[in-house]
């Protein structure tokens, strides 16, 4: 070893040429090249002697110098970095980026206001957009859990079809491989001695899963015959319900009691399968009645192989002609006109799309406004650093290098904003999911980690947008000239066109959101102005599921007992029960026949079962006759009925309906004892529909669901006493399961529908947009005023009144805001199309809404410009002039 050591010492190459090479070689490759040169040197020395080796090394070093110098220059110029060196530390590029990042962090730490403001602003935009994306993804982008979902379509007039039509059409479809149908079929389930539960479910035909192309995870789907008369009652569970029931494979073949009837579990659907929405937990079949006229079904078909689902009109026409030949339709429920097949995606998710798209758009606009704000802030920073940048440039920094610094600073801000934004997205996600009108989708939306990735991508895109502005200013500006103007004290205020452009853009974007919100506010105000016919103040609502065992008489008695107990509570004026609350969709309808006019065309009316105090509790006015009292009892020939004004007008025009008799829906004939005012029995915006009310003393409750309404003395009590009402129901009727407690005003809110929810959301976003916009205007005008400080000071010193200064600066701001408003209105004319489906009696270009939005923005713009203007006018000119 010592010998070898001596030897290696002997052949160690001369230092000078190696040092020269070390200086010239790029860091990333320096060590390997030098090692190779040493090896070669040793080899040459061994073969040809030391002197030859030394000469060779010198020749290498000097011969390489021009090439390496050129190479270094070229790499610096083109920024070329070989892929092999991409991740090696110390390469020329990486090194400067790291330096810049450290410099940026130092700079940002030294300017906390700027840093916090930029990160917060950007994070709001990023977080919001990421959250909306999280909510929107399953609705807009994820595939449906059905095979080749593009081939599956639903028929026109959803939930208006009946079993008779289904049976008749069965072998007459052309263009379809198979057609199935489904209707809502919530069932009660009682496990052991526990309270009954209501399971959201669907009644489907046996071929439904085949039409959807979905296979069960366990067991089988329904088999043909499962929906025939006499078939064994079966059920298929959702994955979630199966897990809840123990998640054991042995569940197949077991029996559960649904609606009081035992059913055999034949299958479990896989995780991720849903139909028609994610809350549905169970699917059952029922025997199809070929004469069944109960029209609550929706038809779903899978098109035949080779048929284009886009070109189905001939098949629709054929089907309509088949229907026309066989069935006579009254105007309502007529399926022989305007038929079309609707892609299943549109049927299931289409109604939510506008809401999601509108929110997405609004959030994207806010992100853009945030970007503009941060860009303006950075621009201010770059201009504030003008002297520093000019010195750097004079010392040899290229513009590319200076731009790189700005980019790195933006990236650091972007990273901070992405992290904060992801946190905001995680918290805002749930609020968003429940405040958007997504129904079952909102309840089932789940946060997932892809949102963080999304936040990062959005942040990166935002940073690129933001950095364009200061970079453009760097490339356009005359840096060297800045040093001279710095000495002169910046007398000539430069135009700041970029900043002005940013303000115009912000105002335009804010205008888009504000006009959208204004349209919805206008429309929703109109909706609330509709009189639903019931009192919505001071009424509490308790939905219960009454147990299905026991006779109908026992159940009625229990319901009456609960109503009496509720009415007896302190602070309660009256209480009643109904089978179906107004403002919650159509409910039951049955055919009506007026006695003495049997030949008249059969039509249907709403059919409601209520307790005697119902009208008084709900504040429904009696227009003629009376409502039910305890003397009303059913006898062999029938009983008594209360009708609404719409029914009286339609069937007894110009006559007194009191004392007349009607039939239909129930056996016997029923005498009209009173007429009450029209109530929005179905939806808020429906025209008045004929309705009949029957007393539960004479008619059985129709289903397991009953709704108690409780009128309290004070409005606030209705909401605060809900738990007490629930307690009373549980105490008086332990077998009843309370499904939901709410208030009538909340029911009205829900009835106003998606527009109200989107309005709330858009109004919130408008506030955000206006705040950001105002900050932007303020910042730019303040900057503008500060830059011309010396200018103003001289003029004021020469006698210009300060009011002129204010007027000038405010005028500048107003001009920018006006330009933005004009641009914004032009954009809004196109963009408000998204909202069209939510507008009720409000044009998409409603002048009132637009005028309000313009006025609001103008006022905010002027105020935002006035603050810096006022400040500029109060500056003491002597101080300013002495400053430099």
């Amino acid at each position: 070893m010592p010998v070898r050591h001596a030897e290696s010492n002997e052949v160690s190459p001369p230092r000078l040429p190696l040092a020269l090479l070390r200086r010239l070689l790029p860091r990333a490759e320096r060590d390997e090249v030098l090692a190779d040169i040493r090896t070669e040197y040793v080899d040459i020395a061994a073969e040809h002697g030391l002197a030859t080796a030394r000469r060779w090394l010198w020749r290498q070093a000097l011969g390489s110098a021009p090439a390496l110098l050129g190479w270094n220059w070229w790499r610096g110029w083109t920024g070329f970095e070989p892929r092999a060196n991409a991740y090696r530390p110390g390469g020329p590029m990486i090194k400067s980026w790291i330096t810049d990042a450290r410099y940026a962090v130092r700079r940002l730490r030294a300017r906390p206001t700027y840093t916090i403001l930029s990160i917060l602003t950007l994070a709001l935009g990023i977080g919001g957009t990421a959250a909306v994306f999280g909510v929107a993804r399953p609705l807009l982008f994820d595939p449906l859990p059905y095979s080749h979902a593009g081939e599956v379509v639903t028929f026109w007039m959803p939930y208006w079809w009946n079993e008779e039509e289904y049976t008749y059409l069965r072998d007459k479809y052309t263009g379809f491989r198979d057609v199935a149908m489904e209707e809502p079929g919530d069932v009660t389930m009682q496990a052991g001695d526990g309270p009954v539960r209501l399971l959201p479910g669907r009644v489907v035909t046996a071929n439904m899963f085949d039409v959807l192309g979905a296979r069960p995870l366990l067991g089988r789907g329904f088999r043909s015959g499962d929906d025939q008369q006499g078939a064994e009652p079966v059920a298929v569970l959702s994955h979630g319900l199966w897990k809840e029931l123990g998640g054991s494979e042995s569940i197949i073949g077991q029996r559960i009691t649904l609606d009081g009837t035992p059913r055999t579990i034949v299958g479990v659907m896989p995780r991720g399968f849903w139909f028609p929405d994610p809350t549905t937990r169970i699917w059952t079949t029922q025997p199809i009645n070929p004469q069944g006229r109960n029209g609550n079904w929706q038809f779903i078909g899978r098109v035949a192989p080779g048929v284009d689902p886009q070109k189905m009109q001939p098949y629709v026409d054929h089907l309509m002609s088949v229907l026309r030949d066989r069935f006579q339709y009254s105007t309502k429920g007529d399926k022989t006109h305007d038929g079309r097949f609707i892609p299943i995606r549109e049927t299931l998710l289409g109604s939510m799309r506008p809401a999601v798209v509108a929110t997405f758009a609004a959030m994207g606009l806010i992100l853009l406004i945030a970007c503009a704000n941060v860009a303006a802030l950075m621009l201010g920073q770059v201009e504030g650093r003008n002297t520093e940048l000019a010195v750097r440039s004079a010392l040899g920094a290229s513009r590319g290098r200076l731009t790189q610094q700005v980019v790195v600073e933006a990236l650091v801000i972007g990273l901070g904003a992405a992290l904060l934004g992801a946190l905001l997205a995680a918290t805002g996600f749930r609020i968003l999911a429940t405040s958007l009108p997504l129904g079952a989708w909102g309840e089932n939306a789940s946060f997932d980690w892809t949102m963080f990735a999304v936040a990062l991508v959005i942040a990166l895109a935002a940073v690129l947008l933001v950095v364009l502005v200061p970079a453009a200013s760097l490339w356009r500006g005359e840096l060297r000239g800045t040093m001279n103007s710095a000495r002169m004290g910046g007398i000539q205020g430069r135009g700041g066109r970029l900043e002005q452009g940013l303000v115009v853009m912000q105002v335009a974007l804010a205008m888009l959101i504000v006009s959208g919100a204004a349209l919805l506010v206008h429309s929703v105000t109109k909706l609330y102005a509709i009189d639903p016919g019931v009192n919505t103040k001071a009424i509490a609502v308790v939905d219960v599921l009454s147990s299905s065992d026991g006779t109908a008489a026992m159940r009625r008695q229990k319901i009456d007992e609960v109503a009496a107990a509720l009415a007896a509570m302190p602070g309660v004026q009256s209480a009643a029960a109904t089978a179906k609350l107004p403002l919650r969709g159509s409910g039951n309808s049955f055919g009506i026949v007026i006695e003495g006019r049997e030949s008249q065309e059969r039509t249907i009316t709403y059919f409601r079962v209520v307790t005697n105090d119902y009208f008084r509790t709900m504040g429904i006015k009696v227009l003629a006759g009376r409502t039910f009292d305890n003397s009303d009892r059913m006898n062999d020939s029938g009983g008594t009925v209360v009708i609404n004004e719409a029914l009286a007008r339609k069937y007894f025009p110009g006559e007194d309906p009191i004392g007349r008799r009607v039939r239909g829906g129930l056996t016997g004939s029923w005498q009209i004892i009173g007429v009450v005012e029209n109530v929005a029995e179905g939806d808020l915006t429906d025209d008045p529909e004929p309705a009949r009310y029957y007393s539960d003393q004479q008619v059985n409750w129709l289903g397991p669901v009953a709704t108690f309404v409780v009128r309290t003395g004070r409005d606030g009590d209705a909401a605060t006493m809900l738990d007490q009402f629930r307690g009373t129901v549980n105490r008086v009727a332990p077998g009843f399961a309370v499904q939901e407690t709410t208030t009538m005003s909340r029911v009205l809110d829900l009835a106003v529908g998606p527009a109200r929810q989107i309005m709330t959301l858009l109004t919130l976003l408008s506030v955000l947009a206006l705040t950001l916009g105002a900050v932007g205007i303020y910042g730019v005008i303040a900057h503008f005023a500060a830059r011309r400080k010396r200018d103003w000071a001289i003029r004021v010193a020469l006698g210009l009144p300060t009011s002129r200064v204010i007027r000038h600066i405010v005028a500048q701001g107003t001009a920018l805001v006006t330009a933005g408003i004009v641009l914004g209105v032009l954009g809004a004319v196109v963009l408000t199309r998204v909202l069209a489906s939510f507008l009720y009696e409000t044009g998409r270009l409603d002048p009132v809404a637009f005028a309000a939005a313009c006025a609001l923005l103008l006022v905010i713009g002027i105020v935002a410009a006035f603050v810096p203007a006022h400040r500029a006018s109060t500056v003491d000119p002597a101080l300013v002039l002495r400053e430099q």
């Binding site: 490759e29 011969g63 390496l68 190479w71 070229w74 083109t78 070989p82 092999a84």
Partner: protein, 111 residues
């Protein structure tokens, strides 16, 4: 595509000839051995980089035992460029009778 320079052509061919072991120093040695002329390593590296930037070569890093090295490989573009250069050379030489001139020179010298 601009025609390859002489050194570029030599470097590309040397990368091919060293077959999978083409790092800078090895490429230099290969060229030196074939041409019999000494070549500065700096020139080789600068050329390799330029060729990579033109996408005629790709480079990757070796990992494992021994020093990490930047290894070069001919890209499909590089192969096309070489083929074109060779074809151009062949067109250039087509019909040129160098033999006669060389013989003439021999004759002249024999005078």
């Amino acid at each position: 595509m601009a025609p390859l320079g002489v050194l570029e052509e030599q470097v590309l061919v040397a990368v091919l000839r060293t077959r999978g072991d083409a790092y800078g120093m090895e490429v230099r040695r290969e060229i030196e051995q074939v041409t019999g002329r000494e070549l500065a390593i700096g020139a080789v590296y600068a050329t390799l980089d330029r060729l990579e930037q033109k996408k005629l070569l790709t480079s990757r890093r070796t990992h494992g035992r021994g020093p990490s090295r930047r290894l070069f490989e001919l890209s499909p573009h590089g192969a096309t460029a070489l083929a074109e250069t060779r074809a151009m050379r062949q067109r250039l030489w087509k019909g040129v009778d160098l033999e006669a001139m060389l013989q003439g020179r021999v004759l002249r010298t024999s005078y």
